[in-house]
Symmetry: C2
Subunit: 194 residues, 2 copies
DNA sequence: GTCTATAAGCGGATAGAC
DNA sequence: GTCTATCCGCTTATAGAC
């Protein structure tokens, strides 16, 4: 049931597994609590289902980072995709943020397996760009962390961003200014001087 | 009671207010649940006390950003202070992250008041550096967000960083490499070309 | 599949002895 | 100040009718 997963994502992304209440999820999804438990037998199983559904969207943007592209294009594309994801799926971003803050009890196998393998491949890509003189020498892990941090910030800390600026990424002009600022600083920061 | 506040910080920074359990806090602090409630009459009051105690450490680094410094020095100092804070007080960082992810229900007045005023002043500082030609033209709000995001990431996502790299900021060498990478990219990204 | 009713247990908070 | 015992509401989960 899609309505349940959407309601559960909104709840879990805010309160984590322990702080979430299945009666709130049931109400938001428009059914009774026992009926929700007919589809997902326990709260934990529902949490796992929500995590799993969001996983693909989380890994995909990095997968598309193409070693054959020019690094300027590849990094610009990655930042653009990640910011777009923060705009269209802020709750997915916050779900993973909360899960990781709690020590990633459910996501740890994915971090250690699928994500670690993917990151290793992209670290090699970044190293090859540096070796080819197309990128300033920067630690690839820290570069990836910077890309994640700067783009996910607009989803994870949206409440703070909104309070301080009056805007969020749903604002097209604000989205464009965020993209321009992140692209500008990061690309100037990692591309070799002409 | 300092032991209580420390134990409560560890719990709240992980699980948020709703997901935290006062019996876990009491056990970690080495006293009984009723005895904990003798010092803090409700869970919410304890949460407010922990937030308040952590607040100063959260605002202080930004306050020290000195408009009279050279921007390269000022920004380097700010990044260094923030990274140091992520190292020495990762739970404080995560406490605010969880609170903001949940929509900042308790911190909102601080965001709207004290933080907003402080940010406005620092935005003016950044604008003055740009007007003086000492800084590339970059949106000051987005620059601040980038500084927060890149430095707090090592505290807030420490579990992920640890799984992917095997290190955290407690490692002196890792701390140094993170500092060098962030400093390098951000400073090259915002300082005008010589 | 969906509901009402309810069991079973957890968790916040209090009473009262020491 | 600190504890044991306990109350009571809330939350997850089940039973069972429709």
């Amino acid at each position: 049931m899609l309505r349940i997963l959407d309601a559960a994502l909104a709840e879990f992304a805010r309160y984590g597994l322990g702080g979430s209440r299945i009666d709130r999820i049931a109400a938001a999804a428009g059914l009774s609590k026992p009926n929700l438990l007919y589809y997902f037998r326990t709260k934990e199983l529902l949490y796992r289902a929500v995590l799993e559904r969001t996983l693909a969207m989380w890994l995909e943007p990095l997968r598309e980072l193409d070693p054959d592209d020019d690094p300027a294009d590849a990094l610009a594309g990655y930042i653009t995709r990640k910011l777009h994801y923060s705009r269209t799926h802020p709750e997915g971003s916050r779900l993973f943020a909360v899960e990781v803050i709690q020590g990633a009890p459910y996501l740890e196998p994915v971090l250690r397996g699928e994500l670690a393998a993917l990151v290793e491949a992209k670290v090699a890509t970044i190293r090859s760009w540096i070796a080819a003189g197309k990128l300033a020498p920067v630690d690839p892990y820290h570069l990836l962390f910077m890309l994640w941090a700067t783009t996910q910030h607009y989803a994870d800390f949206a409440a703070q961003v909104r309070t301080l600026t009056g805007h969020d990424l749903a604002d097209e002009a604000f989205h464009a200014s965020a993209r321009e600022a992140v692209l500008g600083v990061v690309l100037r920061g990692v591309l070799p001087r002409p």
